[in-house]
């Protein structure tokens, strides 16, 4: 119960921060949605970084490295540390400038003005909003799961107290499993583990027993509600200012979390030397110490995924909140180091967990760090560190606010709401939207608790979708000749390819069509050769992740369709690509590519 109490204290702190921000705020849209573009340098970097980090940074990364090894850091973290700072440098700074200069508050607002379009902006809004929704649900689910996990009731020996699983009012039964023995009487081994089979009674029927699960002080439904209410409260009251301050607090918490957890677990285990050398001497676990389980094509194509970061609405909007553009300087330099501070210990501990808790099924590996904390630290520390995990899990605050900002500005205000009802009504419309969307996410999280994998999947596809929209943003910022039709064509390409890849993935997500972890990929369509391959967790194209051809296709379509369609008016071009003569004598001439084709 102690960890849960610590987490409740943490939740109370974040609510207070949000309400404090409310008292500091003004009643204008720009203040509620963008904190009046006034965030200081340290709040800016901490909140921007915190906004980009989700539960995956700690729980997912360790869960994945448990399955796929130490190479997960290079696959995801160091790739992000390279790409994201560059996108913030080239794109983030320009978004800030254009927002400051022309009053844009969202990406769609910028696209609409840049390309003189209305309906096409709405199409882009629809796609980006749809891709953002799964995050809200995952955040609520993650909150419920984490609170449930850290409030596990234990006996005097520290073992979880178990209870029967009840579903729809009935006890859930499952077959009793026993080790299959071969003709020689020895256990049959499959993939390094004893093969378990159902125990049969004398009449040939499987012997059944009650399914059991750990008992918790805070059930999932209550935990999810608490997290939903807390997040909704500080976003509702504090808007962007409250969200940024909470994110800054959360970032400090989980920046320290990884290193502290690493040190404490290492101390309890007496160092990792013995564990690592044991893993090295076992052929099954030795694979986790390099990149045997990560194909080179996947490793290369994953470099496209971090392009999604700047295209996430909550990141793009956050870029517009800095008080000065110079705040980006520290941000882009420190960003790769912040990623390392979180991912290095998390990935490492995930691999260690494969030695400590062997044989966990794929769906249970996200819990390995909380499990290691429970077994190797005191309950108080486990609670504090659990709060660090909660900080990551509750990253949906930025997505909720972004969705709210997008709806209020790109739909309500754009279609006449602000003009008709005024600025105050616009802000309160945004607040009402926050309540509505939180309630809907909670209800979905309750109904689909066992289907969390769907939303995890949706988020993975959303990464590819947002990354593939990066060419649209680059064209808007750097290419005079880009047109709204090119943007529309790229957007439709992204939507269509996401649906197609999802369909292929879903239709092959069955035993027989999907290879087991560690097995080579399977050809999906024989007539197409190696074009589509199914791996345990992905669909690839000639071994490369779909994000790569999606991104390249988006860029090519943007260029081709733009060249065959009329450009925006000369006045709009001049507005966004001003003549160099307007710069003062003392201003250095731009050295980067703002010059257009």
């Amino acid at each position: 119960m102690t960890p849960a109490i610590v987490v409740f204290c943490y939740l109370a702190i974040v609510v207070y921060i949000g309400i404090f921000a409310f008292r500091k705020g003004k009643d204008s849209g720009e203040d509620f949605f963008l904190a009046s573009r006034s965030l200081g340098p340290y709040v800016f970097i901490l909140s921007l970084f915190g906004t980009n980090m989700t539960a995956f940074a700690i729980l997912g990364s360790s869960g994945l490295s448990y399955q796929r090894g130490i190479g997960v850091y290079g696959l995801m973290a160091s790739a992000s540390g390279f790409i994201i700072p560059l996108t913030l440098f080239f794109i983030g700074t320009r978004l800030w400038y254009l927002g400051k200069r022309f009053g844009h508050m969202t990406q769609v607002a910028y696209f609409r003005d840049r390309w003189e379009c209305s309906g096409i902006g709405t199409v882009i809004f629809a796609l980006t909003a749809t891709m953002l929704v799964p995050y809200l649900i995952i955040g609520t689910m993650g909150g419920g799961t984490t609170l449930e996990s850290i409030s596990t009731i234990t006996d005097d020996n520290g073992k979880p107290v178990m209870e029967k699983v009840i579903k729809d009012g009935k006890e859930v039964m499952k077959p009793v499993l026993v080790v299959q023995k071969g003709d020689d009487g020895k256990p049959v081994i499959k993939e390094g583990k004893p093969l378990m089979i159902p125990k049969m009674n004398e009449s040939g029927q499987p012997v059944m027993e009650n399914a059991m699960r750990p008992k918790h002080w805070v059930p999932y439904e209550v935990g999810a509600a608490i997290v939903a209410i807390v997040v909704m409260s500080y976003v509702f009251f504090g808007g962007m200012r409250g969200t940024a301050w909470v994110n800054s607090f959360q970032t400090l918490l989980f920046l320290g979390f990884g290193s502290i957890a690493f040190y404490l677990i290492s101390r309890k285990l007496g160092g990792f030397d013995q564990i690592m050398n044991n893993m090295l001497s076992n052929p099954r676990t030795a694979q986790l110490l390099d990149r045997d389980r990560i194909p080179k094509e996947e490793f290369f194509s994953y470099m496209f995924i971090p392009l999604s970061s700047i295209m996430f609405p909550h990141i793009a909007i956050m870029c517009m909140t800095a008080e000065k553009i110079t705040h980006f300087k520290k941000t882009v330099i420190l960003y790769p180091l912040c990623i390392a501070a979180i991912w290095l210990p998390s990935v490492y501990m995930g691999v260690v967990a494969a030695h400590q808790f062997p044989g966990l099924p794929a769906g249970d590996t996200d819990d390995v760090i909380p499990r290691m904390l429970r077994e190797n630290t005191s309950t108080l520390l486990s609670g504090i560190l659990g709060a660090g995990i909660m900080a990551c899990v509750m990253a949906s605050d930025s997505q909720i606010l972004a969705l709210c900002t997008m709806f209020t500005e790109d739909i309500f205000a754009f279609y006449g709401g602000r003009k008709k009802f005024g600025e105050k009504a616009t802000v309160w419309t945004g607040r009402a939207f926050i309540v509505g969307v939180t309630l809907v996410s909670y209800l979905i999280a309750l109904q689909l608790k066992d289907k969390e994998g769907i939303f995890d999947l949706a988020i993975r596809f959303a990464f590819s979708g947002f990354a593939s929209m990066a060419p649209v943003m680059l064209a808007a910022l750097f290419w005079k000749r880009s047109t709204k039709w090119g943007a529309l064509a790229s957007t439709l390409w992204v939507g269509a390819t996401m649906i197609a890849i999802w369909y292929i993935y879903d239709s092959t997500d069955v035993a027989g069509l999907k290879p087991l972890p560690g097995s080579p990929p399977k050809v999906i369509y024989e007539s197409l050769g190696n074009l589509f391959l199914r791996t345990p967790g992905n669909v690839t194209m000639y071994g490369f992740l779909p994000v790569m051809p999606m991104c390249i296709g988006s860029a090519l379509i943007m260029v081709f369709v733009s060249l065959i369609t009329p450009p925006p008016s000369a006045a709009t071009i001049a507005k966004y690509f001003p003549s160099k003569k307007k710069h003062t004598v003392n201003t250095p001439s731009p050295a980067d590519a703002t010059a257009a084709v």
Binding site: I70, G81, P85, T93, Y97, D290, D292, P336, A591, T594
Partner: protein
């Protein structure tokens, strides 16, 4: 000239990320850290250093002029 040099540095770092020569290398540095993790940890530091150069030599100073701003 500086832009081309920095583009070159970024390209080199991009190539260095694809460290195929480390595939299958299970060496433990200091007897407990897999070498592939050490390599990419150093890579992350190199990315931060790269951004120091970008900020110093390629900073878009023209964007600091916000004298014509949208009234809030």
């Amino acid at each position: 000239m500086k832009a081309y040099a920095l583009a070159g540095i970024a390209t080199i770092l991009f190539i260095l990320h694809q460290d195929f020569w480390n595939w299958g290398n299970k060496t433990l540095v200091f007897n407990f850290i897999p070498i592939t993790l050490v390599y990419h940890a150093c890579y992350s530091i190199a990315c931060a250093i790269m951004m120091v150069f970008f900020v110093k030599y390629l900073w878009p100073h023209e964007l600091e002029d916000t004298s014509e701003t949208h009234g809030s």
